[in-house]
């Protein structure tokens, strides 16, 4: 046996209180939770409309699609990668589904399947390019964003001959698909959309995958210690491609939820802002831009924070442009808080 004659190297005993504090500080979602409480209290006073059922439904309407994207982007950030194309995937997949169902006359489900496959293709292209070229994923996905936006906007107009398609609800299979992606429930005196359920499911699944599966370990290691991961045989490349497919799927889900919401599409630019919003929300939720650290729950909480602030500013009657200022300030605070956390975590005591 080894080590019977060796001195032991156990850590110095820490008091229970300090350990609890350390654990709490180590939670990536802590700054987002604190900020959420502050913002809810502040706007609860400033904008009383926020405290009603209608106010809550409005907040969740904003938070749900944003949260779905942010949770997927958070996983990608933990793996040390970046995706700017998720917003464009959302737009492109809803346009593709609409073209297939409207002018082409396909039933709803096959059209959805094809647009999902197209989204996955974008994810695979992103992932394979990043993994094989070693280029920064920021630039690769910026390029795919531009290509995708151009193709989907120009292609949509030339195929459909107009800038919008409506009246999709006559298509076969539409009602059953609408039950999955477009239903809503009246609770109290407000209407809650099914997107909220998708958001919660996505958050729960992502959290479980991150902390309780081999995949999650590979995500953390691939972002925080890529060399160590490679040396230990963690499939970093495969995991990265899978994560790009995941953000593309999230984009598809956001686009599909929007499509069934209004039962039609209208041509509009998927601004780069949507994708930036996902990243901003994931970072406020505690993800390090350098990878290796973050949480899906944090991203979901930050999406809620984003929505409360935006709806609060509107309901308080302020100029909505103040929202960007507030978001920027939150981002700065989150970045500083994350930096402190990271220094604490990465500090290497010497023996």
């Amino acid at each position: 046996m080894i080590g019977e004659r060796l001195p032991s190297y156990g850590p110095p005993p820490a008091s229970a209180g300090r350990r609890l504090l350390a654990r709490a500080l180590a939670r990536p979602s802590l700054p987002a939770v604190v900020a959420l409480v502050v913002v809810v209290v502040f706007f609860g006073v400033q904008a009383p409309g926020l405290r009603s059922d209608v106010g809550l439904a409005g907040v969740l309407d904003v938070a749900a699609p944003l949260g779905i994207g942010a949770v997927a982007v958070a996983l990608l950030l933990v793996a040390g990668q970046f995706d700017l194309s998720a917003g464009a995937v959302a737009l492109a997949s809803s346009l593709l589904t609409a073209v297939l169902v409207g002018p082409a006359g396909w039933p709803a489900w096959p059209a959805l399947l094809v647009s999902l496959l197209a989204a996955l293709l974008v994810g695979v292209v992103n992932g394979v390019l990043v993994v094989n070229t070693g280029l920064p994923s920021f630039l690769v996905t910026l390029a795919t964003f531009l290509v995708l936006q151009g193709v989907s906007l120009a292609g949509f107009q030339s195929v459909s001959g107009s800038t919008q398609i409506g009246g999709l609800d006559d298509a076969p299979g539409w009602p059953s698909a609408a039950a999955v992606f477009g239903s809503s429930a009246v609770i109290g005196d407000a209407r809650f959309h099914v997107a909220v359920v998708w958001w919660l499911v996505a958050t729960a699944l992502a959290t479980w995958a991150l902390w309780r599966t081999k995949f999650g370990n590979a995500v953390f290691a691939g972002g925080g210690a890529r060399r160590a991961a490679r040396e230990l045989g963690v499939p970093v490349r495969r995991t990265t491609v899978a994560l790009f497919c995941l953000t593309a799927t999230a984009g598809w889900l956001i686009g599909t939820l929007g499509l069934f919401r209004v039962e039609g599409v209208q041509l509009g630019n998927a601004s780069l802002g949507t994708a930036i919003d996902f990243v901003v929300v994931a970072v406020i939720g505690g993800c390090l831009l350098t990878g290796g650290y973050g949480s899906a729950i944090g991203a979901a909480v930050a999406a809620l924070l984003y929505a409360v602030a935006r709806q609060g500013i509107t309901l308080a009657g302020w100029d909505p442009r103040w929202f960007q200022t507030l978001l920027g300030a939150l981002l700065l605070v989150a970045l500083v808080a994350n930096g402190v956390v990271r220094r604490r975590l990465k500090a290497r005591p010497r023996s």
Binding site: I2, G3, L6, A228, E231, L232
Partner: protein
Amino acid sequence: MSTPERTDDGAAIELRAVTVRHGNVPALSRVSAALRPGEITCVLGENGSGKSTLVSVLSGLRRHDEGELLVDGTPVRFRSARQARALGIATVWQDLAVAPLLSVWRNFFLGAEPTRGVWPLRRLDVDGARRTTARAMARVGVTGLDPDQPASALQAGERQSLAVARALHFGARALVIDEPATPMTVARQTLFGQAILAARAQGLAVVVVTNNPRYAHVIGDRFLLLAHGHVAGNLTREDIDADELTALMAGGESLTTLTDALTALHPELGER
């Protein structure tokens, strides 16, 4: 080409004229060696002589360009470190391969996590992993460790122990130790030595890459000297004493001189 006329049927891992190139520059050229179970092979050489490349090839991180790598007599071409680990080849990397932000038990099982359940619900066996980690760490003398604390909270020496404990746990056929570049206390050096001897006692083929010839002579059964990617000498304990080994290591020039002298003494060395 003249094949070495040794009977290496008993070798756990055998290299036959293995060449590895970084671009056009050969990092290893026509390296042959047999790593036998229950034997400690020390790899010695200057910086840049190909020691780390040899470790990469044995551990599956780097695929060899020419020659053959045989594991239990079967030729293999590793595509990732996972395949080498699956064959029971465990490595203590020079940088220790510890992810600072992951907890100790996640680090311990990284890349080879124990799971339970069937596929869509297949999940980490967290409790089992924690228990195994605590036991394995206690085995290398680190007791009272919280397996849930991040690896960055470990002392430098504890990180070395973690890497050794992991390799001992997963090594079934061979243990490859690339000595850490970070300075080690005497207690840690002792730990490494004990780990190496324990692995030999269990019948593993052990490869130790070290810069310290005296230490190598204390533990090694066989010494593989590398210079500029070539095998400059493949000696047993009987061939050489500690002083000669130190002199060999002292500089490239004396290494070459002594290699020539050894080749004159052992003509079969020149054939490789």
